[in-house]
């Protein structure tokens, strides 16, 4: 089947790519761009491990064809750290021990970032709603919610 030409911006860098008609954004990120921070968990939109930000919105990259997001701006977990160091969200996740096995962490960070980008002072309920599509089988969630609250406080200053 014919390949399709797409152009996407990932973490600020433009990529011109040829993608297959069944190629998911998740596949493009991991296989073509070798950005393996984004994880494949359930593959059916339940676990949120593959969450990335597409045009300011958290989406499951397993449920989107790359051809559908032609022209979009995408942020993945690799886009968090900058020259000045770890992102406040990353620091907060470490500080609050919001990570155990770490498999859900990239998706959690992306859902949290999408929230804080649009709502810098979320309530606990708003944090829970933003993270409701992300499963964690280790932490029991409390540390993750604490970390997002901490990041919101520190980042907001």
């Amino acid at each position: 089947m014919a390949k399709l030409d797409v152009e996407i911006t990932v973490n600020g860098a433009r990529h011109k790519l040829e993608v297959g008609s069944q190629e998911r954004l998740l596949d493009t990120l991991r296989e073509q761009l070798k950005m393996t921070g984004t994880k494949e968990g359930c593959s059916v939109g339940e676990c949120g491990a593959c969450t990335v930000i597409v045009d300011d919105q958290a989406v499951n990259s397993c449920l989107v064809l790359t051809a559908q997001v032609d022209g979009s701006e995408i942020i993945t977990v690799e886009g968090l750290e900058s020259k000045s160091g770890l992102h406040p969200l990353q620091k907060a996740f470490i500080e609050k021990q919001a990570i155990q096995c770490g498999f859900c962490t990239p998706g959690m960070l992306m859902s949290a970032l999408a929230l804080l980008n649009t709502n810098p002072t979320p309530t606990k309920e708003e944090i829970k709603t933003a993270l409701e599509g992300n499963l964690c089988r280790c932490t029991g969630y409390q540390q993750i919610i604490d970390a997002v609250e901490m990041a919101a406080e520190e980042w907001g200053v």
Partner: protein
């Protein structure tokens, strides 16, 4: 192995052109149902030669609520519905249904049109829109036809949409005068939850009596339906004449009359009865009746 050619349309005209010229076309919108089937290599894809992505078609997006009539574009996402101040103010039960669907990630992609066309028995968008008496505008290259939403689904996952048609928008009359609504859902958990039962109640009231009412179920019957017997029982009654528990029992009887006794009936019968009772009590309370 599933194989298809992916096409992207950028205007409604282009969508209609492709649907006219090509056969075996499957439309792709938000993809939150279809991509799951695709990943699992569902046999239904064996009959598909083209996958037509319409997510870029601006004409199919947007919410317009006028004083008399309202419309919602088929590609409006659940996230857009629940964050719309207009929906929150005028049709809060539609926002409540949208917020009960999936997760933030799902709601950001999934569309109301996709939810209707996919037509799962548990789909959450039906009951609020049926309560509004909504019609669907189904368009092909030759023109458009309107279908009452409650006549749209023939059987779960099977609708009257023809191969050369696309769902353009949902149109409805705005409720008038004093009205109250409620949307209720029972799932196994709060988020990313498939409805076991859902319910919309929409009532126009006047002088402490019900002028018009629609009680509509979701996930209770193979295709979502208005509970005609309950509606008949409640219409034109004064608040003092209404027994919420009786309304619940009538709805439960009506559901079992449609589905017959099923494995889930011992659960769904009392659950639906209570759901309707609660919705009617909420209505009376919201209308300021202290009985």
């Amino acid at each position: 192995m599933v194989e298809y050619q992916l096409l992207r349309a950028h205007s409604l005209e282009e969508v209609l052109e492709i649907l006219t010229e090509k056969k075996k076309v499957q439309i792709l919108a938000g993809g939150t149902d279809l991509m799951v089937d695709l990943h699992q290599q569902d046999p239904k894809f064996e009959n598909i030669d083209y996958l037509l992505d319409i997510t870029d078609v601006a004409e199919l997006k947007g919410i317009k609520l006028g004083p008399e009539e309202g419309e919602i574009g088929a590609l409006t996402t659940h996230a857009e519905l629940l964050s719309s101040p207009e929906i929150k103010e005028k049709l809060p039960f539609i926002g409540a249904a949208a917020s009960s669907i999936g997760s933030t990630q799902i709601r950001n992609r999934a569309t109301i049109g996709g939810n209707l066309v996919n037509a799962a028995a548990c789909a959450d968008s039906f009951s609020p829109l049926i309560a509004l008496g909504a019609e669907l505008v189904l368009r092909n290259k030759g023109g458009a036809r309107r279908v009452l939403l409650e006549d749209f689904v023939e059987w779960p996952n099977q609708t009257v949409l023809k191969d050369n048609e696309v769902l353009e928008k949902i149109v409805f009359k705005m409720p008038q005068g004093e009205y109250h609504s409620s949307y209720q859902k029972i799932g196994r958990r709060n988020a990313v939850s498939i409805s076991r039962l859902s319910l919309t109640l929409l009532a126009e009231v006047e002088n402490e009596a019900i002028k018009n009412i629609q009680v509509v179920s979701g996930a209770a019957t193979p295709a979502p339906v208005p509970f005609r017997e309950v509606n008949k029982y409640l219409t034109a009654k004064t608040f003092a004449e209404i027994d919420p528990a009786e309304a619940g029992e009538i709805a439960a009887d009506e559901m079992v009359g449609i589905t017959g006794e099923r494995w889930s009936t011992p659960y769904k019968r009392p659950a639906l009865s209570k759901l309707v009772e609660r919705a009617v009590k909420d209505l009376l309370e919201e209308a300021g009746y202290n009985g």
